[in-house]
């Protein structure tokens, strides 16, 4: 039985099902859901499903989608995963405007707040950046090349986030670490200046997000982890501000 499974490993990848993903448009115009290799978008304003014509090559994702996001300005959407193709969509016309090839499977994606750059992380722990400044939505699909931005040595990056002011890019990995890096004016040359490390989690970091308040518009970083805590950080210093235990408690 075991031998049979090993032989079929290449053709029968569906034995392990990728977790379903959901993303919401920043103005709640639409909702996107990824199930396996299938991407579905629902237009909340028009109250109808959106059909996604994909003229890029190859069309549609051929393998499990691992990451989806809307850009903060609501104009862009990105999907990527095990088929090693990062697809960048217009979140208005729902045309696929660019396809970027990755050498390895993709584990996380992020879009800069101004919509000028898309970043994605591969399974070797390298974060890549794509420049979108010369793209307009009316062109035919553009194949873009990504440049290496930074790397977490031999670790899988689970989450990528831009800070609300766009000054920093945050990357979290399975080796409990969160790295805060200055996002430079010319990111295609790499992001070499590390601002801080947010260290404290005792298990893999699974997710990142920012919470902004009126008093603190630059936002606080929040992270979730396999150690059953949610932690609050100041990204400038890397200081741990608070820890919230969310593990199951005996009543």
């Amino acid at each position: 039985m075991e031998e049979k499974q090993i032989e079929e490993k290449e053709t029968n990848r569906n034995v392990e099902v990728a977790p379903a993903l959901i993303a919401v448009h920043p103005n709640q115009n639409s909702v996107a859901v990824a199930i396996g290799s299938d991407l579905r978008v629902y237009d909340l304003l028009g109250d109808c499903a959106v059909s996604l014509p994909d003229d890029s090559s190859p069309p549609f994702h051929k393998d499990s989608i691992r990451a989806i996001r809307y850009g903060a300005n609501g104009k862009l959407f990105v999907s990527a995963g095990d088929d090693k193709v990062v697809k960048i969509w217009s979140a208005e016309s729902w045309k696929c405007i660019s396809a970027v090839c990755s050498e390895k499977r993709v584990s996380a994606v992020a879009i800069s707040n101004d919509g000028q750059h898309v970043c994605f992380a591969d399974k070797f722990g390298v974060v890549w950046v794509v420049d979108l400044r010369d793209i307009n939505g009316n062109q035919a699909v553009v194949d873009k090349k990504a440049a290496p931005l930074l790397a977490h040595y031999c670790s899988i990056i689970t989450s990528l986030e831009f800070s609300p002011d766009g000054q920093f890019i945050i990357s979290a990995d399975r080796d409990f670490k969160i790295r805060v890096t200055v996002f430079p004016k010319g990111p295609l040359d790499g992001a070499h200046e590390i601002q801080s490390f947010c260290l404290g989690h005792t298990e893999f970091v699974s997710c990142l997000d920012f919470v902004c308040t009126v008093d603190y518009p630059q936002g606080y970083l929040v992270s979730g982890s396999g150690d059953s805590t949610v932690r609050l950080w100041d990204i400038i210093s890397g200081s741990l501000l608070d820890t919230c235990e969310v593990g199951a408690k005996d009543i």
């Binding site: 031999c154 670790s155 080796d175 430079p184 070499h192 200046e193 590390i194 490390f197 260290l199 890397g238």
Partner: protein, 213 residues
């Protein structure tokens, strides 16, 4: 000292500048066990007695060897060799766990594993991405010293450092004025072995700078 070894979180700064060593796995030669490691660490200990220094080593046996060597020196030289120690760790993964931003004044990479195959180049201890982390723990003005007897690796390390915006090469005059540079080949066991065999060594010594934007 034991606390430092088992506690992976950032150690509190003692206010003293620190140097840090890295000894990657030398291209494996089983006959090398017992040839003596910790040479440079031990030489520098008495040269700069006010500076804390730590050696980081991946191999258990080598770490134990260096630890025993230091303990023996402390016994036979009371009051000395208190400023050096060694820890078994994967420094390529956990450097920021051990050191605060800008905490180090010097870093040493001595005869690291060349990882000849191209697909393993990313495992090299000096790489464009890892230099970001070394630049983070090195204070501005801090110096990184590298030496190897493998020419191709020497070219690679020099090239990575030259292309990194946060490092600049020391001038010939600065190299000659630095007492530590001479020790790279004379104080290390590997360096002495290369000299005995009439081989060549390749050094790259660079300073951590503020990047010009």
């Amino acid at each position: 000292m034991l606390e430092q070894e088992t506690n992976p979180t950032i150690s509190k700064s003692t206010g003293l500048p620190r140097k840090r060593f890295y000894r990657a796995r030398a291209h494996s030669n089983p006959l090398n066990i017992g040839c003596g490691f910790g040479g440079l660490l031990i030489s520098l200990s008495t040269l700069f007695p006010e500076v804390l220094m730590i050696g980081m080593e991946l191999r258990d046996k080598v770490t134990e060897y260096v630890k025993e060597r230091i303990l023996a020196l402390r016994v036979s030289n009371p009051g000395q060799y208190q400023n050096i120690s060694v820890v078994r760790t994967n420094s390529m993964k956990y450097i920021p766990n051990y050191f605060e931003k800008g905490q180090l004044t010097k870093m040493f990479f001595l005869f690291p594993d060349p990882h000849f195959k191209e697909k393993n180049h990313r495992r090299r201890v000096i790489s464009p991405h890892l230099l970001d982390e070394y630049a983070y723990v090195l204070g501005v003005g801090g110096i990184i010293y590298t030496i190897t007897d493998v020419e191709e690796l020497g070219d690679w390390m020099r090239s990575c450092l030259e292309n990194h915006p946060m490092f600049e090469a020391l001038t010939k005059e600065e190299l000659e004025a630095d007492p530590v540079v001479k020790l790279l080949s004379s104080a290390t066991e590997e360096g002495q072995k290369v000299a005995r065999n009439g081989g060549q060594t390749f050094q790259a010594v660079f300073r951590r700078i503020v990047p010009t934007s």
